[in-house]
């Protein structure tokens, strides 16, 4: 798994690639929290994420709760294949705002 970020006017974009599973979830969580710092508007681009398990979901939820409790918002874009399906089955598609493209996510941020 790799994570990078890009600071835009409206939001911080976090770009994730690879797998969000039991071996990478903890790293995902701590790296995201480091990158987020005091930023309020966060867009997470999952275009290059091919696999997510419940361990990955737990980390996503932890980050989401932290951002929310700091008064910010965490939104997702570019969910593909099984990642989209896992988000839907687990109800994450309704607790987080999800957009088809990064542009749409940035407009909403």
């Amino acid at each position: 798994m790799e994570i990078s970020s890009q600071k835009m006017d409206k939001a911080l974009i976090i770009i994730v690639s690879g797998r969000l599973d039991t071996t990478t979830a903890q790293d995902f969580e701590s790296t995201c929290l480091d990158l987020i710092g005091n930023e309020k508007n966060i867009v997470v681009d999952l275009q290059e994420v091919e696999y997510v398990s419940s361990a990955g979901l737990r980390s996503i939820l932890s980050v989401g709760k932290k951002v929310r409790s700091d008064g910010g918002s965490l939104i997702f874009c570019n969910l593909k294949g099984m990642v989209r399906e896992v988000f839907e089955i687990s109800g994450f598609a309704s607790i987080f705002n999800i957009y088809e493209t990064r542009e749409q996510a940035l407009e909403a941020a």
């Binding site: 599973d21 039991t22 696999y51 419940s54 932890s62 896992v86 109800g91």
Partner: protein, 143 residues
């Protein structure tokens, strides 16, 4: 469908450790590829194995008691992948847990409990039995 007996399976037995999780996954994926299982189903198989095997690795053998997992795989008929997971740890029926409430707002959601929910939804059939002091979990995918 006829219930396959243990002679129909190819078996892999390894100790119940995190390090062995990818080896178990690869074993089943290689079997599944023999019947030209789609990439989409292979990802579901991988996910279901991560969720079910991690449960055993983390909870079946407490107090550092080292245990093992037997993983069986068979292809009983066209388009069917049958997985059997056997451990001799503490009795645990993963299917007895109620599904988490996936409609709750974020702040009320618990961090956890989603693994078995994903297993139920991703696999075509999941059955548990306790027999001879062993947990036996059968998982069927239609490929």
């Amino acid at each position: 469908m006829r219930q396959p007996d243990s002679g129909d399976f190819s078996w892999l037995q390894l100790s119940a450790t995190r390090e062995n999780l990818p080896i178990f996954q690869e074993f089943v994926i290689n079997e599944a590829k023999r019947i030209k299982t789609s990439a989409e189903i292979l990802q579901k198989v991988e996910l279901v194995l991560e969720e079910t095997l991690l449960n055993i690795i983390c909870y079946a053998y407490p107090h550092n008691h080292e245990g093992s997992i037997q993983l069986g795989c068979c292809l009983p008929g066209p388009g069917e992948l049958y997985i059997r997971i056997v451990d001799s740890g503490i009795a645990f029926d993963p299917l007895s847990r109620p599904d988490p409430d996936v409609g709750q707002p974020m702040q009320d959601r618990e961090v956890g409990g989603l693994g078995i929910h994903l297993v139920r939804r991703m696999a075509d059939r999941v059955e548990y039995q306790r027999k001879d002091e062993m947990n036996i979990l059968d998982i069927v995918f239609r490929t």
